[in-house]
Amino acid sequence: MSIIKISRRKFLKSLAFGSAVVGAAILGIIPAIKGWVRKMRPPGALHEDQFLASCIKCGQCVQVCPVDAIKLADLTDGIGVGTPYIAARDQACDFSCDGLQCVLACPTGALTHEINYAHEAEMAVAKVVAPTRCLAAQGKGFKGFARGPEFDGKLRYNEIDRWNPIPLNEHPYDLESCDLCVRMCPIEIRISMCEAGTPPSGEERQCPPEHAIQMVSTGVSESGYTFLPEILDGCVGCGVCEMICPVDPPVIIMEAYPGSGRIF
């Protein structure tokens, strides 16, 4: 075998190896680019395309979150290996850090430093998808743990402990008409705090300008007055209503923003 043949062989082998590496990398990112799966990103996330361009996949946002709402995507999640997302039903972002710690931790600006307060986030669009399943719409109240005794998600209850979120299964409810989605909405909680003259962290700027969700009266049923939650303009899509909803599957879900789906 001549030297030229050997080097030609080596070249072809190298070409095959190199193509396999590039191919694997492209295959790995196509699901994310095409937006086959959509997941909620942390607060302050740029538009999906820009987010995928700028996220360095270090997980610093994961580490600072007091309620552990942020997870890193795996290969099979199809939203970019190592990029952060929030599965709101399991654990929503309740802004219990007040200062948007994940945004501050982000080294690349993938979570834009242009937002400072909860009400400036745009994480998803909340949608009332199953009004007939809503307990309030059936005139029902709610008693017990919102998500049952096994659920390990947590939320902050300002009146209990401003600094430490507590597990939902340590906080039972007894409500005549279920309004958990409105009652626990971080934006609504902030608005009432501000109205009471005690804004979060004592900062006026923490006060949201618009309401996010309200219960609307829909009439009377055999079991009592009926209501339905209505999503308002102030909603930031944090997912707490989806998380707290005691009905399974939930009445309200978060719809993540899509990417553009362009490849180049």
């Binding site: 082998k13 590039v22 990112i29 360095i56 996949k57 270090c58 795996d74 290969l75």
Partner: protein, 324 residues
């Protein structure tokens, strides 16, 4: 060609060539002549004995593995215990508040995003300075978690090969340069950090800190490929991170230095080396000077230093200590 351009050319994939006879220093010529003299049987035997005795020396490897494991566990502990000392992962982190960014990840983000946030810039410059000082690819051998797994895979690979159960396909080392260019171009054109999907360094670092995932299958595939088909293939022929750090370390004061005088030229160093082309100067009649720095592709892993029976390869920090 100057030593630096030669070192860079080899980093990019060029094979080392025999030096021009006119380039040899007088002292080097004299030593080469001395070395060329036929050795007596007793001398040859002594060389073999010295080599065998030194072959099992793992002085630097033990220290290096300790550093590598400690740094990675520091990330893990910092996250698990919420001590906020070393936050993030190898791709981007903060050490007691100071930003640090892996150079290749940062490059991918900058090319894709086309904006550079000050924090990222600070992190990138910090890391570039640190690794320039410490030798560039020192990152590979002393920090990268994939390197450690690949070393274990290599031990297995060599055992299997001794039995004839594995082969060592050689690829063109220039492929790494092409991959570096392709991934840089892909990031710029597509505006996605394409390489990060398959970076075993990032995948492993995150798996350690945030828990394992299926992305580890990719890492396992590369390791299996290395075990059965090609020794240290990823680090040798593919990893763009290695090339980036190699560039940073090209002018580093931290070097492995070759001393011609005592060298037996028996090649123990080249057999253990991840980048044996960088040790080509240890072959007979190759070194043009009596003391030569090993090129930019060297990961400063210290394997050659510890197995050399004559201490002809040593760690040197320019400006510190005396040349022998």
């Amino acid at each position: 060609m100057s030593r630096l351009t030669q070192s860079l050319a080899q980093l990019f994939g060029r094979s080392p060539t025999k030096p021009d006879p006119a380039k040899f220093s007088e002292a080097a010529v004299r030593i080469h002549e001395e070395h060329r003299k036929r050795k007596s049987k007793a001398e040859v035997l002594a060389i073999h004995e010295a080599r065998e005795a030194q072959a099992k020396n793992t002085f630097w490897r033990r220290r290096r593995w300790t550093v590598l494991i400690s740094v990675n566990l520091f990330f893990v502990a910092s996250s698990a215990l919420h001590i906020n000392a070393l936050e993030g992962a190898l791709t981007g982190s903060r050490f007691v508040g100071f930003h640090m960014a892996d150079l290749n990840s940062a490059l991918q983000v900058m090319l894709a995003f086309k904006q550079v946030l000050i924090n990222l810039l600070i992190g990138t410059i910090t890391i570039a300075l640190i690794w320039w000082l410490l030798g560039g690819r020192t990152f590979c051998a002393w920090i990268c978690p994939y390197h450690l797994l690949a070393e274990w895979a290599e031990i297995l690979h060599l055992k299997l090969r001794a039995k004839g159960w594995a082969m060592d396909i050689k690829f063109d080392r220039g492929m790494r340069t092409w991959l570096w260019l392709i991934f840089a171009a892909l990031a710029f054109i597509s505006s996605y950090t394409v390489y990060e999907t398959i970076s075993p360094t990032g995948i492993l670092s995150r798996a350690l800190i945030y828990g394992p995932g299926l992305a580890l299958i990719w890492v396992a595939l590369i390791l299996l490929f290395e075990i059965f088909f090609s020794r240290r293939a990823w680090c040798r022929y593919a990893c763009p991170i290695g090339l980036t750090y190699g560039l940073v370390g090209a002018t580093s004061p931290m070097k492995v230095q070759y001393h011609l005088e005592g060298c037996f030229h028996d090649g123990a160093c080249r057999q253990v080396c991840l980048v044996p082309h960088a040790l080509e100067i240890t072959k007979p009649q190759r070194a043009t000077e009596t003391h030569l720095d090993i090129g930019a592709d060297c990961t400063r892993c210290g394997r050659c230093v510890e197995v050399c029976p004559t201490q002809s390869l040593t760690f040197e920090f320019k400006g510190l200590g005396q040349k022998k």
